[in-house]
């Protein structure tokens, strides 16, 4: 990565964390030689997000299949013209039992979001590790990262310790656009909540518009999830999942 400017602040901060003085056995043996890769708040919110998104996509599909037609405005039904007919069968029934499941997993997203944003501000994770530097916010460095990916150029060990500008922008969009968007459009379909915050649904164009936009945000989140999984498999599934659980990554070449 020739952008150079993006911060290696996570390194700087975690190298200051004193390593444990316990006998070098098991995990602690690894820790003494490893740098913390993911903060605890990032790990916790990551798995809350993962649980929430997977549960929501599964249960949301169950609700969608009950009426796989999208409309614009307030009203829409089989007796009215649709905006888009999804190539899915219409199966009546799954929406009944998927509805409580959907609301259950929605809370994982909401609580994960609160944990991430509050901790992201207090630990300065957001500012240091996620918000791109001004120098990186230009087409050249952005295209450079993309070009490196196209050429399958492996990042150096140092670069792998920080997020590149494309990753940073993607995470920012997921956390500050897609998550709020999907929560907003979801809540906009609530009759009870819209009796208190009616502008939330009227600015979207109505109940059916909110539903359609909910589907759009869900599709974008699904796309992010698929790319996220593809990248994870490319860089090493085991070591990266492990790093997201324990906070530490096994040493280069030791676990893959």
């Amino acid at each position: 990565m020739r952008t150079g400017v993006s911060s290696a602040s996570l390194d700087a901060r975690v190298s200051a964390i004193p390593v444990t003085d316990e006998p070098a056995t098991g995990i602690s043996a690894i820790r003494t030689t490893q740098r913390l890769r993911h903060l605890a708040s990032v790990r916790v919110s990551h798995w809350l997000f993962a649980t929430g998104v997977l549960g929501l996509i599964a249960s949301g599909s169950g609700i969608l299949i009950s009426h796989p037609r999208l409309y614009w405005g307030e009203t829409g039904s089989v007796a009215m013209p649709s905006l888009l007919d999804l190539p899915l069968p219409m199966i009546i029934g799954p929406s009944v039992w998927n509805r409580p499941i959907h609301f259950f997993f929605a809370w994982f997203l909401v609580i994960g979001g609160l944990v991430y944003v509050i901790a992201g501000l207090t630990t300065r994770h957001l500012r240091k590790d996620v918000v791109p530097s001004k120098a990186d916010l230009r087409w050249r460095p952005i295209l450079a990262v993309i070009w490196d990916h196209v050429r399958w150029k492996r990042t150096s060990a140092d670069e792998a310790w920080t997020y590149n500008v494309v990753q940073r922008l993607t995470y920012l969009i997921v956390v500050f656009v897609l998550f709020p968007g999907i929560v907003w459009t979801g809540l906009s379909m609530s009759f009870a909540l819209m009796s208190v915050f009616p502008f939330m649904v009227t600015v979207l164009g109505g109940h059916q518009s909110a539903r359609t936009l909910h589907f759009v945000f869900a599709s974008l989140l699904l796309m992010f999830f698929l790319v996220h999984m593809a990248m994870l498999c490319l860089v090493g599934f085991k070591s990266h999942v492990r790093a997201m659980i324990t906070g530490y990554k096994p040493q280069e070449g030791s676990a893959e």
Partner: protein, 251 residues
Amino acid sequence: MSKLLTRRSLVTAGLVTAAGATGIGAMARYGLIPPDYATPFGAGETLTYATQRLLTSGNSLAREFTRSDISKIPIVNGPAPPDEAFRRLAADGFRDWRLQIEGLIERPASFTLDELRNMPSQSHILLHACEQGWSYIAEWTGVRLSHVLDQVKTKPGARYCVFMPYPNPQQTTGIIRTQFESVDMADALHPQTILAYGMNSETLPADFGAPLRLRMSRQIGWKNTKFLSRIIVTDRMDLYRKGAGTWYGGI
């Protein structure tokens, strides 16, 4: 160091437990726990119900629309009961039909359709949405449920209203029209909650719940029981319809 951690974690665990117990106690005290709190996804149901009840406290009014917004073709979901007894009632203009009200009330009573029609009426043009995803706008005319409940005087302990449809309240064969439903008093006493006998300036059609249906402005479609025959006012949490779905419906 490990001792310190243990003590600290014990104190933390104790505080969290105490806070949790106090929180749940307070939630129960203020009626923020739904009857289906113990179902597999009950934790989510409880959070959703409590949050919405806190945010919608007071009689926040749902959006109303204009006559020009009324949908040309409203969707029928669960047509009129096909059985002979219901047809006989309908053919007669439901003259022999009664709405029975019982439970935690001072004066158990039953009302004829004419008696209900002679009570003060109100109309609302509301969006009706099914959890499946479709929606339509229609105008509903009826008597405010709180007015009817005033006639029979609910007792102080009343917490829920159970709505029994015609004919068999216990018949839950997966057909929406034959399922009973229950709502809390916040929804029951809401100013836009009516027992509707009219739709789009006409007598309520059989397929839309004749002779009388519940119509709430802050609830999803299936909570609005059609073909009403009986209302039970209760404080019992176990009288809600146990099924795969959610009780509150919420969001």
